[in-house]
């Protein structure tokens, strides 16, 4: 796997230039993993035209999940880019967008289900096409969240990274075709332990006539601690309060002799509550 070049704008957020782990998610696929607080996830649209659907949950309390309306209204924005934080429904920050080369990622259009994919791009079953089949974002999310005991009821509005949809003065929505160019990249810094659910299925408003299949390169780094002049914490006073809610959530976790180290204590909690 090619290691992406770290642009100067990202260097202050990363402890090393080399990722701790990397993986190229093929187009039309899905994946999920848990990221610890203090890690950073760099997402790169390797070929251009990618769409990365994303949902976030608290692995220790799966009822806490990414909340698009709270994320938008807390920051008075319709788009997501550098300086924005992705909020849970509990007023906490899952992750911060500390760097973004694109300027616009959308979070209101959802995804396509299998029926809609069939209508839009034609059917391609696993039997016919093996792993080049036409998967929908909805079923992809269902498969991944089911691995953690979640289901239909738990799917919220997802982020569609690398996709741009605007609304004009009358509210009419417009999909920006060709928005994401090859090498477009954003860096997410995780502010709490997070279950990350991803799918690379087509954006629901993509006008392509054939199923767009674009990979996304995921690289995991150790992030530097949040600095006083941090771009996300200081972009709005609301975010400073969001970080304060995270501080309350993690209070006491570093007290020697009171709690075991962070990872051990969380593993224990998980085992005790099956």
């Amino acid at each position: 796997m090619t290691v992406e070049t770290t642009p100067p704008a990202q260097q202050q957020y990363l402890q090393t230039a080399e990722p701790l782990y990397d993986y190229l998610i093929p187009g039309g696929s899905h994946w999920s993993f848990r990221l610890r607080r203090g890690l950073a996830l760099r997402l790169t649209d390797s070929e251009g035209g990618a769409n990365l659907g994303a949902l976030f949950y608290n692995p220790l309390d799966l009822l806490e999940r990414y909340n698009a309306p709270d994320t938008l209204k807390c920051q008075h924005t319709f788009k997501l880019t550098t300086g924005h934080c992705l909020y849970s429904d509990m007023g906490r920050i899952f992750c911060s967008i500390v760097s973004d080369s694109l300027g616009w990622h959308e979070t209101v259009c959802g995804n396509l289900n299998q029926t809609q994919v069939k209508q839009k791009f034609g059917e391609k079953t696993y039997q016919q096409a093996r792993n080049e089949w036409h998967l929908g974002g909805y079923e992809s999310f269902l498969v991944e969240v089911a691995k953690y005991g979640l289901g239909k009821k738990d799917l919220a509005a997802n982020v569609n990274f690398f996709s741009k949809v605007t609304a004009d003065s009358r509210g009419q929505m417009h999909y920006a075709d060709g928005h994401s160019t090859p090498g477009s990249q954003l860096l997410l810094r995780f502010e709490m332990d997070t279950l990350v659910i991803l799918q690379t299925c087509p954006h629901p408003l993509n006008p392509a006539s054939t199923y767009p299949r674009r990979p996304v390169h995921c690289e995991i780094f150790a992030a530097n601690p949040v600095a006083d002049d941090d771009v996300c914490m200081n972009s709005r006073t609301e975010n400073r309060r969001g970080f304060e809610n995270n501080r309350l959530y993690h209070l006491g976790m570093d007290l020697v002799g009171v709690n075991p180290p962070q990872s051990a204590s969380k593993e224990k909690a998980r085992v005790e509550k099956p």
């Binding site: 938008l72 788009k79 209101v108 239909k152 009821k153 738990d154 509005a157 605007t166 809610n245």
Partner: protein, 213 residues
């Protein structure tokens, strides 16, 4: 789009006042019509819908706005479910447009939006938590509290990607009417928010009127 209703309240099946800070949960049968009436003006009614047969099928803001290609709701809007099926249709609207991007207020998001010291002020999500706790027969839990409609609320989106909460465009006596296209559970929180202009800083009662045809 402004559309008047011909329905007369004296022919209604039921009519109830919901005070600010209270909730309403009820079943509306296919073919029935529900009117939400802003009695004193500038009041937000935070509303969720579920299929009465299978509440895991519920109102989906994303499917609704994406399929109509417009972020605002008004006459002619089909409210769609997470299965992309039609649930209700807006058949009359004297307000003009309604929001479904802003979500509901919660004590937790209030700490971020306004002040950490506003944590204990009443919020829509607390009304919904009480509603699901007091009405266990509907089988709803926190997992079912998803992205809602804010009837009468004005949340303009700008072309450059901004989003703001503005003074309401509703007024005393304005209303919205929806016809149920399947049997649905309706769950409304009459918004108690005191910190932004969505209620004109003065939460007031709404009236819920249901016709059976």
């Amino acid at each position: 789009m402004i559309t008047l209703s011909q329905r007369l309240s004296e022919n209604a099946k039921s009519s109830r006042i919901v005070a600010a800070g209270d909730y309403l949960i009820d079943v509306i049968k296919q073919g029935e019509v529900i009117r939400i009436l802003d009695l004193e003006g500038n009041q937000a009614a935070d509303t969720l819908f579920y299929s009465a047969d299978d509440p895991s099928e519920r109102y989906s803001a994303m499917d609704t706005i994406r399929q109509q290609g417009n972020v605002y709701l008004s006459t002619g809007t089909i409210l769609r479910s997470n299965e992309d099926r039609p649930m209700l249709e807006i058949v009359a609207d004297t307000c003009g447009r309604h929001d479904t991007l802003g979500g509901a207020c919660a004590t937790e998001s209030n700490t971020v939006r306004y002040d950490l010291n506003k944590r204990c002020m009443h919020a829509c999500r607390d009304s919904w938590m009480l509603a699901v706790a007091e009405n266990e027969h509907f089988g709803l839990t926190k997992r079912d509290i998803t992205h809602n409609i804010n009837f009468f609320m004005n949340v303009p989106v700008t072309e450059s990607g901004g989003l703001t909460f503005e003074d309401g465009i509703s007024g005393a006596g304005k209303y919205v009417e929806l016809e149920a296209l399947m049997d649905v559970i309706v769950l409304i929180s009459n918004c108690p928010q005191l910190n932004n202009p969505c209620n004109g800083y003065n939460p007031t009662p709404i009236e819920i009127i249901i016709w059976d045809c």
